[in-house]
Structures are given as structure tokens and as C-alpha cells.
Amino acid sequence: MRGGFPLTRPSPPRGQRVMWALMLVAGGVLLAGLPYVVTSAYVMHLIIFSGIYIIFALSYDIVVGYLGMLSLAHPAFYGVGAYTSVLLVMQLDVPFLPAFAAAGLLAALVAVVVGYPALRLSYHSFAIVTLAFTLIVRIVWINWVSLTNGPMGIPGVPRPRLDVPFLGQIRVETSTGYYYLILVLVLLTCSFVYLMIHSRVGRVLVSIRENEVLAETLGVNAFRYRMVAFAIGALFAGIAGSFTAHYITFVGPEFTDFYYITMLLIMVILGGSGTIHGVILGAIVFTFVPEYLRITPEFRDVIYGCILLLTIVFMPGGIGGKLNDVLARRRVPSHAAAGNR
């Protein structure tokens, strides 16, 4: 759960920067052209879900990895986001984009209300309180039938229509449309998380996690930072939930299922908690792997279990941690050659 964090870095030499720029362009072309290369609707569906889970897992890593608190409330925020935008769009005829934003903001607001008492608790009590919250929220979805249609859920959720200035209305209806929408959202989320982690805020969060007494002694209001991180995590979880509902055109109580905790923990821990690229890879790999194991229904769970076990044994820092190690080992000789030490 604790990775190393490269918080300050010397700027790389020029050749390396050119290489990075080239890789960036290549990556951009690849991402933009993906829908034209992938012909299988099923694979496209998995790619879109990978995008959703990248946002979901990154938001979870803010809380679990950087804040260092085991929150079990994330499926609740996912559900709050989903129901919020669906109800706004279907009951109040709110356009998609404002409803989508409201989904994230309401999830964050709920996080503030839950976090206000919960974040004062110790590690274990916090886990239990957030677990209780998830269970309660699920019960609300099931029992507030007049609002949520109970266990049946709400089918027929309209597909997103984006009112973009100068471009007019964009209707997202095909999987290509959904792909580009989730791509933009993933890029925005990654940029925000990257900026946050590499700003003082990220540094302060790590410091609170490592030694709260010292952080407080240095003038850090630990509680305030915890609240902010918890709310930001909830905001992106809410956004992920909202997108999911408008993509599968359905929302139901299963959005707030404890299953998601298992999934998120696998993605974050095996992906590499505290590394953005690791969590992204974790989300992609652990969206695809269980799907492709469907070819052997009898051994599916056994093989999946073995994969998880082997990953954690051979890559205790997750995929991201392993990558960091490999890169660091490659970097050492060049450092020595430059007489850096």
C-alpha cells in the first residue's frame, strides 16, 4: 500500500525530452485512432469500461494510497453519482453536462458529510464506518422505491447529449462516441491527479500518512487535508458512476455493491498503489483478464486467483512499483556516468 513517490525530479536531458515528446505524439495518435483499429464491439466495450475503471481506481488510490485510509465507501459514491445524474436528467430534464457535474459534486458533498465524523476515527474504525455507509446507501436505493424504483432499478437512461459552445449539440450514441467521451474524462482525471500529487497537496498528504504528529507540528491541518482528499476521491467516483449509468442506460442498487471494493483493491494494489501509471495499468489489466478467462468457465476463478497471487508475490509494489524499479535500475548507470553523486 505504500509506494515511493518521486516528488521532485531533475529535468531530464534534451535527447530524453525529445524521446518523451515523440512517445507522447505516438500515444496520442494511437489513442485517437483506436476505434478505427478495433473492430470488435465486445473489445470496444471492454476498452470503455477500462476507462471508467481507470477513473474509479485512481479516485480510490487518492484515498487508499495517498491518504492511507482504507475507505469502503467508494461504491456508495459511485452509486450516488449514478443516481444523481440519472434522476436529474430523467425527472427534471436537466441537460447531461450539468447533471454530470452535479453527480460528482453531490458525491463530494456526501463525502464531506460522512467524512466529518468518520475521518476523526482511527484506521480500523474508519473502515467499519465507511463499510456501514455503503451498506446503508444500498438499502436506500432498494427501499426508496418512489425515487429509485427499488431493486428493479431505472432502465432507459437517456444517452448523453453534450451542449458544447461553438460546436452545438453532440449526441453520444455509438461506442466510438462513448470512447472519445471517456478518453477525455480519463485524460482530465489523470491530469488533475498528477497535478495534485505533484503539488504541495500531494506532498502534505504523504506527510500526514507517514507521520501525522510531525505534520501537525509543522503546521499542517491534517483533518482539513483528509477531508479534501476524501471529497476529491468521491467526486471522481461519482463521475465514473454517472458515466456508467449513461453508458449502459441503466442504474440500479448493484451500483453500490461491495463487489466493487474487491475490484478496486485488486486494481489499486496489484496495479501499484501510489503510482498513477500503475493504477491505470491495473485498471486495464484487471478489466480484461477476468473477461478473457471466460473461455474456461470451470477454471476461471482458479486461474484468476493464481494470477492475483503470483502478481502480489513477484510484484509486491504492484505493476507500477515494478516498472519504477526497472526504470530506476536503468537510470543508475547514466547518473554515475554524469558524475551526479
Binding site: T8, R200, V204, S207, L214, L218, G219, V220
Partner: protein, 251 residues
């Protein structure tokens, strides 16, 4: 001028009285030594003064303002810096990152602004880096700025913790055994730094067991025993005080 002052400060742990109506003060520009046998309440006094422990009775004042039972970070922001008996640094962060953390929020920054790196935040960050570089240079840790703090020797870590306390431009610095378990050369270095920083206007309160250090450095010495103040005065007076000798060596 009274910078830090306690009035009848009392702290009970269940049945045990760790501090018993202690009246204690540090004036601006002073180096005050706080001594006493183990368990006499010295660190407890620091912990109460920095808000880490709630007090049981009495008041604590900073520049005349009542800060009794204020939150730790609030007291820190008002200008009280401290170090700990057992080194507290962030071992997995680099030396420079440790230094930069020591200035968090002291400039009243906003969280969103610092994520988005507004020009103001960039400028503050640059100022903090300059200040960190200057202070690291002062204690001779500048060449190690990008090393993880865990890679430093014990004495260097002690120096890092010491100099971190000056990042926020504190009113007063509370040092809890700054020379404990470090070698004689390092003790001398630490003493030189304290004297120089005091000359530049910093105020100190030091818990110390090494009597040579206390006698050399301190302008005034306060002695605690079983939570009570048993003596106060110039180092020479304390050295020959009967009660103090008795407390240390047993009557």
C-alpha cells in the same frame, strides 16, 4: 518581553501529576535550558505547549495570547517550532522535500490554488526553495538535498530535524535533547548553530541532559523535578544549587 509563558501549568495522567503548577517563561532572544532528572516533566511541558497533550490546569500564553489547548497546527502557525527527543523526519522523502513540508500553509495558501499552481503559488514555492537551500547550506546538508532522509547518518538526521524547525520563520524553537546520542564533533556543530541562530535573533528553549552544553549555551536555566519547578537562575547559580544537586544525585 514574555514570548512563551506558562501560568500554574498542571498536567495529570490519571493519578500521576506530571506537571504541578509550573510557572515558566521564555523571553524574546533568550536561550533557556530546561533540565531535570528523567520523568520530571520536561517533555510533557513541551507537549502541552505545542498542543499535543491537553492540559489539566493553568494557562499557556504566546506573546500574551492564550494558546491553552489550541490545536497543534494552530500553535505551529503562530510561530512555535519544535524538535523531538527521538528524531521525527519523513525518512522516505528527500532532504529538500522534508524542508519544504516544514513551510506548509504558513503562507495561508489555498488547496485548489496549489494544485493548479497559480503564479502566486509558484512564487511562494520558489521562495520556499530558496530559503530551504539557504538553511541547508547553513548546516552543511546542501550536498545531500536530493537524497532520501533515511540515507542520512543519525547526526545528519538530527541536523535536518533541527534546521526544519526554522523553515516557517518561528518565534520560538523548542529543542528536545538536540545533542542526545550524537558524537562530540556533532555536538559542537549543533552548539555553534544554536549560538549563531540566537545571534540572528532566534529564541530557544532547550531540554538537555548534557550539562556542559547547558552551562555553555543557556542564558537561564529552569529545573524540574517530579513535575515541580525546583530552581531557576543563571547556569552558575544552578550548578551550585543544593536542591538541584540533590534531585540529580539523590539526597
Amino acid at each position: 518581553m514574555r514570548l512563551l509563558e506558562t501560568v500554574d501549568l498542571t498536567k495529570n495522567f490519571l493519578g500521576l501529576t506530571a506537571l504541578d503548577r509550573v510557572n515558566f517563561h521564555v523571553d524574546r532572544g533568550e536561550i533557556v535550558g530546561l533540565i531535570g532528572p528523567n520523568g520530571s516533566g520536561k517533555t510533557t511541558l513541551f507537549n502541552c505547549a505545542t498542543g499535543l497533550l491537553p492540559v489539566s490546569g493553568g494557562r499557556i500564553k504566546l506573546k500574551g495570547e492564550d494558546i491553552t489547548n489550541r490545536k497543534t497546527h494552530e500553535i505551529a502557525l503562530r510561530g512555535v517550532s519544535r524538535t523531538f527527543q527521538l528524531i521525527r523526519i519523513f525518512p522516505r522523502l528527500t532532504v529538500l522535500e522534508n524542508m519544504l513540508l516544514a513551510i506548509q500553509q504558513h503562507q495561508g495558501e489555498r488547496i485548489l490554488a496549489s494544485i493548479l499552481k497559480t503564479p502566486r503559488v509558484r512564487r511562494l514555492e520558489r521562495d520556499a526553495r530558496d530559503r530551504a537551500a539557504e538553511l541547508l547550506d547553513f548546516v552543511g546538508l546542501a550536498p545531500l538535498a536530493d537524497d532520501p532522509a533515511a540515507h542520512l547518518s543519525y547526526g545528519q538526521q538530527k541536523l535536518l530535524e533541527f534546521i526544519m524547525a526554522f523553515m516557517p520563520q518561528p518565534e520560538i524553537v523548542l529543542l528536545d535533547e538536540p545533542t542526545a546520542a550524537v558524537n562530540p564533533t556533532m555536538i559542537q556543530r549543533m552548539m555553534d548553530h544554536i549560538v549563531e541562530l540566537n545571534r540572528r535573533g532566534h529564541t530557544f528553549c532547550i531540554i538537555e541532559h548534557n550539562m556542559d552544553v547547558v552551562m555553555d549555551l543557556c542564558h537561564r536555566v529552569v529545573v524540574l523535578d517530579y513535575g515541580e519547578k525546583i530552581a531557576e537562575g543563571k547556569p552558575d547559580e544552578i550548578r551550585n544549587n543544593r536542591d538541584v544537586i540533590e534531585a540529580y544525585f539523590g539526597g
